[in-house]
Symmetry: C2
Subunit: 329 residues, 2 copies
DNA sequence: CTGAAAGCGCTAACAG
DNA sequence: CTGTTAGCGCTTTCAG
């Protein structure tokens, strides 16, 4: 049996209340008393029972990270990176972290109803209904890699516009004018941002680029390769391809290779995300680094602020991106 | 305020004990009574408070997955796969899952001392001291992707020997005799298994292969590429390289490309893991599939058995591998 | 099959 | 600064 606060109380000769204070609010206990308590605790191998604390305090100090995404979730390097940041940041706090995917998350079982989770970080394409439901139950919510109109909640996103600009301007600086965007069908938010950015920036630079230069594909190598093949068989074949993530870019490289094009001489390719695959490809893929880890950490900070009752927690936090020039463009 | 068992008791006109039974042991309650309880609960939006349950029952129904690995943890596709399997399996049980990395796992704060975790799945290179410590505290332990001599605990591993055989025999069947193994410095267990398997199987096939055909490298593309370059500049250059994971194999491919070798004609390469990068490489990488997800699921099953007090839970569970032939070999 | 009542280990007024 | 005491919401004997 583990020892309890009573055992410590008895051994140290102070009340249980004091033992409790010695651990939860040391500053309320006189130095000498405190030491007596700690010594007794040491002897008894005592350490507070978190369950009992939660019960008495009526709060759990528990938050959750919910990945709202179809298919591979934690297996997606992007979300794994965010998750890593969240785990890392949560670890520095007193909050305990639960990690789930939307597929197996049970609202009823995981929220205030049974007093388990006090705050949730929603990653990716969360449904607005889920957000309202959570907020209605008094759960703090923050969004990561997404934004949602009409809600009062903090969002942490990457600088989508800036990222697209870095990729595009790099290509332009290398002399490319006929640039196509191979756009993976990601969440509506992401797709939208990148789409709009691409068009605006291309136009700002006077590129002869229009909607025909944007080709959608599924976010798989195969789909991207197929889509790229079409792009490359047009009469006015683009000289550069901007893939909206690295998997898509890898697909483009593959299509180019199969068509016998030399990279980057006959076709330049850039990606987005700066995933680990960039270094494995040949030539290595030029990409725009997204600081997923930072996004995760910031999400935790925002959630903490919310839970701490801070007024004016920033509604949107934008994490800057960084171009990583390699050999593919 | 959320409703409690008392509210339900009052509304339904039965005692709290009965309400409790109706939810936890329905078979102990008469059909009609049970329905009354459920109806009242429905009206009140009642659902049991897990914290209070844990408090009263003196158990938490909580398990943890601890990744014991340096550096990228959840970011490692391999462990992410295991994690995915674990999350998936845990979700079908009543156990709640905590996910941590060895780096930020605090023994004191997460184990029976404060009654939080009842069982732990240790992934990768766990320290024996950690295992004994946990077992001493009465925590159930299972190992995944590792084995440990001198301990009484279930291990779930991939068929390392069989995997190496599949890769090697494939290469042999393609006519290769001079095959080198590029071995990433993974955990001692994994490294050992693969090393031994390679030598034994090569010898069994009468290949002129010895320890000089095994080259160690760090598990990064760069290190692998460097190591492979050396291998390829030997007078009796190998005609095939077996990388002990796909990242290493990608490094080998890169080195070969830079030396101007055509793949697979002048150098065949196979990997191990069947990670997502296989399909992104050109040519696509032939690899041996490891069913990480299954490994994760089985770990949970073993842990459950342990916690259920089953006698003779299998000490070692081996998950078969499968060769995936692509164009690199 | 159901109810009464005693906890589970800790916290938080409140009083001193 | 410290002690008393009444819970937190649920489970679980023990009776009936």
């Amino acid at each position: 049996m583990n020892s309890t606060i009573y055992d410590v109380s008895r051994l140290s000769g102070v009340s249980t209340a004091t033992v409790s204070r010695a651990f939860s609010n040391p500053e309320l206990v006189r130095e000498g008393t405190r030491r007596k308590v700690y010594e007794a605790a040491e002897v008894l191998h005592y350490s507070p029972n978190a369950i009992a604390q939660a019960m008495a305090r009526q709060r759990t100090d528990r938050i959750a990270f919910l990945i709202c995404k179809e298919g591979a979730t934690i297996l997606d390097e992007f979300y794994a990176g965010i998750c890593d940041g969240i785990m890392n940041a949560a670890n520095r706090t007193d909050y305990e972290l639960m990690i789930s995917t939307a597929a197996d998350w049970d609202l009823a079982a995981n929220t205030s109803k049974n007093k388990q989770v006090e705050g949730v970080i929603l990653g990716g394409n969360a449904k607005p209904e889920l957000v309202s439901e959570l907020q209605n139950r008094g759960i703090a919510v923050v969004l990561v890699n997404n934004r949602m109109a009409g809600f009062d909640l903090p969002c942490v996103v990457s600088d989508e516009y800036g990222g697209v600009r870095q990729a595009l301007e790099h290509l332009i600086s290398r002399g490319h004018r006929n640039i196509a965007m191979l756009a993976g069908r990601f969440s509506p938010y992401i797709l939208n941002e990148r789409y709009r950015a691409f068009l605006e920036i291309a136009q700002a630079h006077g590129l002869p680029v229009d909607a025909r230069h944007i080709k959608l594909c599924d976010p798989t190598v195969e789909s991207a390769a197929e889509a790229c093949r079409e792009l490359l068989s047009r009469p006015d074949r683009p000289t550069a391809i901007f893939g909206t993530n690295d998997v898509v870019a890898a697909g483009a490289m593959k299509a180019a290779r199969r068509l016998g094009l030399r990279l980057p001489e006959e076709l330049a390719v850039t990606g987005l995300d700066d995933a680990s695959v960039c270094g494995m490809l040949e030539p290595e893929l030029t990409s725009v680094h997204i600081d997923c880890r930072r996004m995760g950490e910031l999400s935790v900070e925002r959630l903490q602020s919310l839970l701490a009752g801070d007024e004016n927690v920033p509604q949107v936090t934008v994490v800057p991106t960084e171009l990583r020039v390699r050999r593919s463009a």
